[in-house]
Symmetry: C2
Subunit: 336 residues, 2 copies
DNA sequence: CTGAAAGCGCTAACAG
DNA sequence: CTGTTAGCGCTTTCAG
């Protein structure tokens, strides 16, 4: 592979000049021309590793997500990628599996690889520790989930409001025993959506105690949604509607329902997080739509601002969800 | 950030010794101990950029996929990741968008970043050019799609056989005018699945000419499947079954069918590529299941073999698909 | 505007 | 087994 000195020699200039040509230093047009020609003749392309070492910063940003198989995060990842590309940043996608240990390992790698910055959908609100990055001055933006104690920029949605609207919609539709299957305890999205659910129940005059049996924590995976729904169905007085806080768990919930011979909207089903196939499921699924792509794009924009040296105070961008009513919550009485 | 020399100084040894401790050279236990302690006191972790520069090889492999939002590729990515992790390799996920130009750019980056190797689901069978990597001696393994002229290890499935079985299943079910919506012309998966379709049609005694109007090339996206299905439905003698060669396009096909008031299995629908929600769609979808995770894992294993310096001749691992019959292909007559 | 020279942090000979 | 030394390819003072 040709190096910068090879090019310099071929063009009859110094390596420094070649570097300047490629990095926007002042060089006479005539020499620029000579360097460009030599570079293309030799098929030269700058060694990014050497550059990173010298600059103490790579042109790579890390994106840590809990589950790459979750469509929400792939869409978010695209948002990040598209935005990053415009500044010639590459994106490294890391799957933390909702495992704080694995996440810590990736954060260490981000440090060791001298990545320019990190966008992280934290595995845990409590235990995700971003302090090492902060200490090294590496810009971080939290997306979707926001670790409790971290002083970082963040992009979130109003999960509580979304959960509240969803639950209210179920209640308005005539359902009475509304259950909630939420994500891992400790994840901010789980807790916030659940808080929204609780607020809506409270507003509807349902007491805290009577709500409690209908709340289940699961793991944001298909199997978790399935298991939780089975439990709910086994209750002495099973729910007549269920608010599921992510789309994967909704798949599991629908499976469990079907196995018991129950079909929405007899039991109302509402999924937090839209899915491409929402309208294909019979009946079409009511969902809370999340601006996943935009969240990724915003996060990347925020990070790039910091990279450019913005000294602004920390900011949190809160995006809104949108309820998309479909048949699965038409109401228990609507069936003839 | 602490460097190797800081640790050396603190431990009273030379930098080389510290390096040996971290890379399995021979060092007396007593010194190993001292180095370890100094390193942990200082919070030292080796600078991977410097190491990559020195070694002329990073401990990162690139994974190039055409579409990160396609569940098939995310599952494949997980397979790669899980396998890579066992050798302490990180995986960089790159989205080529089925764009040869974008792919070329990522390939250049792989080179410039001195990645250890690359796993690529090629954007095009014809135009994807892996020669630059080969020239630099960078190991490459092709996965899913195999660029025509490249001398690389590969992991594929038997797409033609899968397509043949799928089509035969439709024909066996009593469908007569079986259409095929395949992916981009030039992608090996598109062509092979289509070839399987053609073979099965031929076997069933359907002439080449009468088959032709029922073949559509699309883009492996939802919209492409939708548009192709609309076209098919507008035919003077529309098909009574459609074999769709990926799951995303199947979503589009189902949408188009619904809009026309048609439901499977009246028109049979068979998707190449399983999806988590296959059984939730009404009626449940017959699919050809792809061993996506295993393909990723095999590809990573192959790459690691090369990285370890295996001199074996090039190999291609061919995995098998599995037909999963469900209601959507129960047959036109089965409806009462 | 240009070139010489000094390193970024690490590993791989090579002596000892 | 251990230390010394010499770079990997690039950017950036600092003189000129």
């Amino acid at each position: 592979m040709a190096t910068i000195s090879d090019v310099a020699r071929a063009a009859g200039v110094s390596p420094a000049t070649v570097s300047r040509v490629f990095n926007g230093g002042r060089v006479t047009p005539e020499r620029v021309e000579r360097v460009r020609k030599a570079a293309s003749d030799l098929g030269f392309s700058p060694n990014r590793v050497a550059r990173s070492l010298r600059m103490q910063r790579a042109s790579v940003i890390g994106l840590l997500v809990p589950d790459i198989e979750n469509p929400f995060f792939t869409s978010l990842a695209r948002g990040v990628e598209d935005a990053a590309q415009r500044t010639n940043l590459s994106v490294v996608l890391c799957n933390t599996d909702d495992d704080v240990e694995k996440e810590r390992r990736y954060l260490d790698i981000a440090l060791a690889e001298q990545m320019a910055g990190v966008i992280v959908a934290a595995a845990s609100r409590k235990h995700t520790d971003l302090s090492a990055l902060a200490a090294r001055g590496m810009p971080v933006v939290a997306v979707d989930r926001r670790p409790r104690a971290a002083a970082v920029d963040a992009v979130t949605v109003d999960n509580q409001l979304g959960g509240e609207e969803a639950t209210a919609h179920l209640l308005d539709g005539g359902y009475e025993r509304v259950a909630c299957i939420t994500g891992p305890a400790g994840a901010s999205t789980s807790e916030d959506r659940l808080a929204g659910y609780r607020a809506a129940m409270r507003d509807a005059g349902v007491s805290e105690e009577s709500t409690r049996p209908y709340v289940r924590y699961a793991d944001y995976r298909v199997d978790g949604g399935y298991a939780a729904t089975r439990e709910l169905l086994a209750l002495p007085s099973p729910p007549d509607a269920v608010f599921v806080t992510n789309s994967l768990m909704t798949v599991g919930a629908l499976q469990a329902l079907r196995e018991s011979g129950i079909e929405p909207p007899d039991v109302g089903v509402l999924s937090f997080g839209d899915v491409p196939w929402a309208s294909l499921v019979r009946p079409p699924l009511t969902t809370v739509q999340l601006p996943s792509y935009d969240m990724g794009a915003s996060a990347a924009a925020l990070l790039q601002e910091r990279l450019a040296g913005s000294g602004k105070p920390l900011q949190t961008v809160v995006l809104r969800t949108a309820l998309q009513p479909r048949e699965s919550t038409r109401g228990p009485a609507a069936r003839d």
